[in-house]
């Protein structure tokens, strides 16, 4: 069989295709399962053998967003016909909606903390990476290693000292505390990634701008930043994915005001039986922002990952 770099044979294409499809199935199946479970009724969700085909229901979503309480059939009858479609769903189980659940708040906390820390890590990371890339920084290599080393310990190893520190500073269970914490953790990633991207930008662009009459900051802002956009976008995605999905710090350091969605979603199980559809609905919705963000920056992400591999 002849081998060519440019033209894979039919067989090679088939093998590659099968591998990709297999990998996609393995990674996507749990997702499909979660999304499907979100639209099942509680009995369907725990049916054995598992139901692949089922009649969809929004019960999981209703339960996710509401607090409910059980009432006697007589009281229920006295209420009259249900006013809304979600009232109707709840009343099948002799229950009434008593108010919204905390999911919305927790979700909003995740958005504030996730995007806030992502912005801060990318902002500080860009500035630090630029300095490391362009200026003579004393002990540069040691500093870079030190920055990276902050990522080497598992969160659980530092959670207790951080908890004690935060208690002193009054940062426990606050948005600011979580944003600062996630920023600190992500900063190592963003400095290292962005330094790589900025190293790739020829210094001549800035020098040309300096000679063209711009200040150092203008050269950075008008010439370097647009060039680094790809790197900044992919770094932002990585930072957001970490901050969005982070569980260990969140479960240990937040309980009320600043609790993010990851530690909250499992607690849904406890409120009113094993409500798997509500948990699945919570997880599904939780995926949406990061999916949208990634799709929006997809082009940058792909270019970002392969950046520098090939010279233009």
């Amino acid at each position: 069989m002849s081998f060519s770099i440019t033209d894979p044979s039919r067989r090679q294409k088939w093998i590659a295709g099968i591998l990709v499809v297999t990998y996609a199935i393995v990674t996507l199946l749990p997702l499909v399962w979660i999304i499907a479970t979100g639209f099942k009724t509680p009995p369907d969700s725990i049916a054995y053998p598992p139901k692949v085909f089922f009649s969809p229901s929004l019960e999981g979503y209703v339960n996710l967003f509401t607090s409910r309480s059980r009432v006697t059939p007589e009281d229920l009858a006295a209420l009259g016909p249900p006013a809304t479609w979600y009232d109707a769903i709840v009343r099948q189980y002799d229950m009434v909606i008593t108010g919204p659940s905390r999911y919305g708040e927790r979700f909003l906390n995740s958005v504030i903390i996730g995007f806030g820390s992502t912005f801060l890590s990318v902002f500080l990371g860009t500035i630090a990476a630029y300095a490391f890339s362009r200026f003579k920084v004393p002990l540069k290599d040691d500093l870079l290693f030190f920055i990276l080393s902050t990522r080497m310990m598992p969160p659980i190893a530092v959670a207790i000292p951080i908890f004690l520190m935060y208690r002193q500073l009054g940062l426990n269970d606050t948005h600011l505390g979580m944003i600062l914490l996630y920023t600190a953790v992500n900063l190592s990633l963003s400095v290292w990634l962005l330094k790589g991207f900025i190293d790739e930008i020829p210094i001549e662009y800035e020098e040309a701008a300096l000679i063209d009459g711009y200040t150092r900051f203008q050269a950075f802002y008008k010439v370097v930043l647009p060039q680094a956009a790809t790197g900044i976008a992919s770094t932002a995605i990585f930072c957001l994915i970490f901050a969005w999905n982070e569980y260990a710090f969140a479960v240990l350091l937040t309980s009320g005001d600043a609790q993010t969605a990851p530690p909250f979603i499992p607690t849904i199980i406890g409120t009113g039986g094993k409500d798997w559809p509500a948990v699945a609905a919570g997880a599904t919705l939780f995926l949406v922002p990061i999916m949208v963000f990634t799709i929006l920056l997809r082009k940058h992400l792909l270019r970002g990952i392969t950046f520098g591999a090939v010279r233009k």
């Binding site: 001549e204 020098e207 040309a208 701008a209 063209d212 711009y214 010439v223 647009p226």
Partner: protein, 364 residues
């Protein structure tokens, strides 16, 4: 338009000295070449003139103003980079207008200026194209456009033709020189290509290891090199060196090589020891009657001329002779050296002053 004076300029990077106490003057309107092998300090010197590096010590005057510690933006210079450094996220028009925008020039005026410059460079049709898709030559023209659009006091160019292929380089060199003649602006041009330097420059500074070896007109440098480094670096093939032990007194008109007397230009300085006699290949003639003997090792045919390599008692010698002369490899022959074009070098490699070269070399 400007005169640039460099006085005892020095640049150290940590413990490494890139440029050692160099001085030279670039006259208004000159096309001035900084020539030397890589790592000789020529680019560092240019960057210090530009303000991209600050000298460790020394002074730089542009039009009489001391600028050595001023930022690049205040020096009224334009810089053309080897890799062009066109802003990749802007189209051609924006690239060229960028320096004007930074000065706060009104939009209409910027537009007119850019169009005028594009006309000069013949790139009007490219103005709205992104720079990414341009050929090397067109990128170079855009880079030049960005430089000339501001009418700077001088142009600094760092191997601007280095990234072009050989065929196009020739053409671009002519274009550059023509542009310079038309604008009459002082140009400082860094190159490691001695042919380019000879071809384009009004004056050349030859640098090596951060030291200015020689400074002058291309022809003077070629004919009367100040050091063996310059003699060897300039010319292709370079100057021949015949090594011999001996001594010359001031006023001598001949040296003794292997017992034969060889005529040289009348010396002004005396020297003795391991001397070097330098002669350009075109000043070596094959002559059976000559006393200096050599065996023919090789002949390279170059069209109108050929380069004949001979083995002599004082080392290999290359002669550039007409290609109509028939040479046979292995033959013994005599070498006649043109006595008017010989330079003697002292053992350390410095040229000895003679009646012929003292006009060019002003030692001390």
């Amino acid at each position: 338009m400007a005169q640039i004076v460099i006085k005892n300029i020095r640049k150290e990077f940590g413990s490494f000295t890139a440029v050692q106490s160099s001085s030279f003057t670039i006259e208004d309107g000159e096309f001035f070449m900084l020539l030397g092998p890589s790592g000789c300090g020529k680019t560092t010197t240019l960057r210090m003139i530009a303000g991209l590096e600050l000298p460790t010590s020394g002074e730089i005057f542009i039009n009489g103003q001391e600028v050595s510690q001023k930022p690049a933006s205040q020096r009224d210079i334009a810089f053309v980079f080897q890799m062009f450094a066109l802003y990749p996220h802007m189209n051609v028009r924006k690239n060229i207008s960028y320096p004007l925008v930074s000065q706060g020039m009104p939009k209409a005026q910027v537009k007119a200026k850019v169009e005028e410059v594009a006309q000069i460079l013949g790139i009007t049709s490219l103005l709205d194209r992104p720079v990414g898709g341009l050929s090397g030559g067109d990128r170079q023209r855009v880079a030049l456009g960005r430089a000339i659009v501001r009418n700077p006091a001088c142009f600094l160019m760092d191997e601007p033709l280095g990234a072009l292929d050989a065929e196009f380089r020739e053409h671009m060199a002519e274009e550059l020189r023509a542009l310079h003649d038309r604008m009459g602006a002082t140009t400082v041009y860094v190159t490691h290509d001695q042919l380019e330097a000879m071809q384009m420059g009004d004056k050349i500074v030859v640098m090596n290891h951060g030291v200015v070896e020689q400074f002058g007109r291309p022809q003077d440098i070629y004919d009367w090199p100040a050091t063996t480094f310059v003699a060897n670096f300039i010319g292709s093939p370079p100057m021949n060196f015949l090594r011999f032990d001996g001594s010359v007194a001031a006023g001598a008109t001949a040296v003794a090589l292997s017992g034969h007397s060889l005529a040289i230009p009348q010396t002004v300085e005396a020297a003795s020891g391991a001397l070097i006699l330098g002669v350009r290949p075109e000043n070596v003639h094959l002559d059976d009657t000559a006393a200096l003997r050599g065996r023919i090792l090789a002949a390279e045919y170059l069209g109108t001329t050929q380069i004949v390599t001979l083995d002599t008692a004082h080392g290999q010698v290359k002669a550039r002779i007409g290609s109509d002369t028939v040479v046979r490899i292995g033959d013994q022959t005599g070498l006649r050296l043109d006595p008017r074009a010989i330079t003697l070098f002292a053992p350390q490699g410095r040229a000895l002053l003679s009646v012929a070269n003292q006009r060019v070399l002003a030692h001390g």
